[in-house]
């Protein structure tokens, strides 16, 4: 498969490319303002079905103009977002002006939104630390470290993408990031496992061989997952679209990072410290020593 050849021969270029995208994402993250959905910033999300009655549109242009964040028009409805400064009276007035076309109203207080932010952040960090610990025990610390670096790389790129394109950061986005973490780690573990197996057999240039052997599987898996994601993206409807988009980026870079980033890091470490290739002999699950 030409894709395989391409990946194998251009590892250096790909690592470089990946590094560039990573740095770009970091810069984007610091320079651009993330589009926090109401769930994280607080405020009101009002969903309506297609056309707003005249009274409601007037309010948006008039009284509500200074608390309006945005109006998102789609073919099957509109989403109106208001800041936390909207008063109850204004809100009730708007709701009654909408009448029949009102589908739902979500209200989140600013402080709760902030709490959700830090809560989600802590959850992700905690999960990552726990996984690193497990991998450090099963393999060794360098390999676990490499996996985490690759994971951070994937997340930063995904977030950079989100911020750059102004994709709204809400629960589904966080779900997508969680899924990327799961996927990336899964990928990395498969690569590491192959490496571990080759090291036991004292193979020459184990890292390269590991990549060669894992590549077919990684490519087929990625293609399969992308098929599902593209379908979700095109047919899934509003709610899952953002999710599918972020996931797609995550899968592409996740696969790339497992093959290129993790392995490059391990190779580099091995040049200085051959002990990197030593995996402590612990009773393994496959029954052999």
């Amino acid at each position: 498969m030409s894709a395989e050849k391409f990946l194998l021969n251009n590892r250096k270029t790909l690592s470089f490319f990946s590094l560039v995208v990573f740095l770009a994402s970091l810069i984007v993250g610091f320079v651009m303002k993330p589009n926090y959905g109401v769930e994280f910033a607080g405020g009101y999300i009002i969903e309506t079905s297609t056309k707003l009655p005249k009274a409601a549109t007037e309010l948006i242009k008039g009284d509500l103009a200074d608390v309006l964040i945005e109006v998102d028009k789609r073919e099957d409805g509109q989403t109106i977002k208001l800041t936390t400064k909207t008063t109850q009276v204004e809100l009730e007035g708007f709701k009654s002006a909408m009448g029949e076309s009102l589908l739902s109203v979500d209200s989140i207080s600013g402080s709760y939104g902030k709490e959700m932010q830090s809560n989600s952040f802590k959850a992700v960090i905690a999960a990552m630390l726990a996984m690193t610990l497990y991998l450090a025990i099963r393999y060794n610390t360098i390999m676990a470290g490499a996996t985490m670096v690759a994971l951070i790389h994937d997340l930063v790129i995904a977030l950079g993408f989100v911020v750059f394109f102004g994709i709204e950061i809400n629960t589904m986005t966080v779900g997508a990031l969680m899924t990327i973490i799961g996927y990336s780690v899964n990928d990395s573990v498969v690569t590491l496992d192959k490496l571990k197996e080759l090291l036991r057999g004292k193979v020459e240039s184990p890292v390269l061989t590991a990549i060669k052997l894992v590549l077919p599987r990684s490519l087929i898996t990625s293609k399969s997952t992308l098929l599902v994601l593209i379908s979700l993206l095109l047919l899934g409807g509003e709610a899952v679209r953002g999710f599918a988009l972020v996931m797609t980026i995550g899968v592409v870079f996740g696969t790339l990072s497992s093959l290129v980033v993790v392995t490059s890091l391990i190779e580099r470490a091995a040049k200085n410290k051959p002990s990197v290739f030593e995996i402590p002999e612990k009773p393994s699950l496959d029954g052999d020593v």
């Binding site: 589908l103 709760y112 599987r217 599902v228």
Partner: protein, 494 residues
């Protein structure tokens, strides 16, 4: 041959059950498996998140200390803050009663009680804050549940989130305005005697100022039942209250000792006045004690029948231990939920079909087996979720997508391994085992942590993921292995 048929038969069971969950009309299952419950973002409904403020928890701790100290000592409260309460003796040269010290040693060992020249100082309240918070939330959940039951709401969920929040989920047709009012109502009834102590509370009433004792002799605690009525004597809306036996005794004792003196009945509430939450108290009635009173009494001065009914409901369920504010409200119209599901499901099915087509293209007959294990996997997830009684949320769908990705990955690992080994499928399974376990355990760790630490939407994701990992290992490895080996053994190629 028989083995193959019985195997296929066995595998059809989970698929059928899952099908019956999705299409209950066409595939009946006689309630073998409970139907899937959907989270409100998929089914529609209301989700309220109620929170308790820090200041209120402080107050709860302080009130507890005050109650204990005042029970044994004749004191007034001169100062209270986050960590301490200071009392002054009413009579000069009084001393701390021994009973107080014993009670504190037993019930509140982490607090320090000391006697000063003219009073008592209690410090260390911060140490009991966590425990008090947990108790408050627990009691509030009970009270909220009982209020919702009284309102006749069915199909509701009330549960704790984090350390200081309560989540309430209600069906779409709930009268939200009224329900919110009832849920957060802090109406408290208190019966007090008049007092001229330092810490007496002054309340204006009909042009006069009434001074009441700082603590009531009857409060919400002792109320057993409350009913809104029209008072036969005055023709006004009122609430009759029946006290429990302990409070009833207290009522008799106090009224016997104070015949001729007034009882002041007040209703307290914490409401927002111009955006600021304040404790507001009004006097419902002031009545002189004629005879010794018993367990029943009437609260007058309600104004409207509506107010009487609300107060009766709130009194019945008990007063909230600490006031709760609505910090978040989500309403999902059932229509919106339905369209979310429909679009998501369709896209997902199409995606999976494409995936199947691709896998079968690459792996031929092995691909067909792989795809069947995926279908079984999905069925098992559905059945497991409905058995646990877990709700399926929008983020749950994300969890399913990841699970399917990991599941197909497991299959691919095995097949590629078989290629490496020149076609020895049995060995491929054995070799791939540790890889698959490692990858899944790592993901499982993440799922467990997310479930414990995360907010509601993350919990939905984590649960689906955790269930999915278990079903994946079962279907993509064990069931897969069984099918493959059975097919190979019988020497037939599919």
């Amino acid at each position: 041959m028989l083995k193959r048929i019985s195997l296929i038969g066995l595998l059809m069971i989970p698929i059928y059950l899952a099908g019956s969950l999705l299409f209950p009309k066409y595939l009946p299952n006689n309630d073998l498996v409970a139907p899937i419950s959907l989270g409100i973002d998929l089914k529609g409904g209301h989700r309220l998140i109620l929170g308790v403020s820090d200041a209120d928890i402080e107050r709860v701790s302080q009130d507890k200390v005050i109650e204990f100290v005042k029970f044994y000592n004749d004191v007034t409260v001169s100062h209270k803050d986050a960590d301490s309460v200071i009392f002054n003796f009413k009579k000069k040269d009084d001393a701390v009663s021994e009973d107080t010290r014993t009670t504190f040693a037993n019930e509140l060992p982490t607090l320090t009680l000391s006697q000063t020249d003219n009073g008592i100082v209690v410090t260390g309240l911060l140490s009991i804050k966590e425990a008090e918070l947990a108790q408050v939330i627990k009691k509030n959940i009970d009270i909220v549940s009982s209020r919702l039951n009284a309102l006749g709401a069915a199909d509701i969920s009330v549960y704790r989130q984090g350390s200081n929040k309560v989540v309430v989920e209600l069906p779409s047709d709930t009268d939200m305005e009224y329900t919110k009012k009832i849920l957060t109502s802090t109406s408290k009834v208190g019966l007090y005697l008049e007092s001229n102590d330092e810490d007496a509370v002054e309340i204006p009433y009909r042009g006069m100022t009434i001074k009441r004792m700082s603590t009531p002799f009857i409060s919400g605690e002792g109320i057993e039942d409350a009913v809104a009525i029209v008072d036969s004597q005055t023709g006004q809306p009122s609430v009759t209250v029946r006290l429990d036996s302990k409070a009833g005794k207290s009522m008799s004792e106090v009224s016997a000792k104070n015949v001729g003196k007034p009882i002041i009945t007040t209703i307290q509430e914490r409401i927002k006045v111009d955006g600021v939450r304040q404790q507001v108290e009004r006097i419902a009635s002031v009545a002189n004690i004629g005879t010794v009173l018993d367990r029943n009494f009437v609260v007058n001065g309600m104004g409207t029948m509506e107010a009487s009914e609300e107060l009766a409901l709130v009194l019945q369920s008990g007063s909230l231990k600490a006031p709760m504010e609505i910090i978040s409200e989500q309403t999902v119209d059932a229509r919106l939920g339905e369209s979310n599901i429909k679009a998501g499901m369709e896209a997902f099915v199409v995606g999976m079909l494409l995936l199947f087509a691709y896998v079968i293209y690459v792996y031929r007959w092995k691909g067909v087996v792989a795809c069947s294990t995926i279908v079984i996997n999905a069925s098992l997830i559905l059945i497991a979720l409905s058995s646990i009684g877990a709700s399926f949320t929008l983020t749950g769908i994300a969890g399913v997508v990841l699970t399917m990705g990991v599941a197909i990955d497991a299959n691919i690992i095995i097949f590629e391994r078989a290629k490496e080994l020149g076609g020895n499928i049995k060995q491929a399974f054995t070799d791939s085992f540790s890889t698959i376990i490692d990858a899944n355990v790592t993901t499982m760790i993440a799922a467990l942590i997310l479930f414990n630490v995360g907010s509601i939407p993350l919990k939905g994701f984590a649960l689906t993921l955790a269930v999915g990992i278990v079903t994946t290992v079962i279907s993509s490895y064990f069931i897969n292995k069984t099918i493959m080996l059975t097919i190979l053994k019988s020497g037939e190629d599919k």
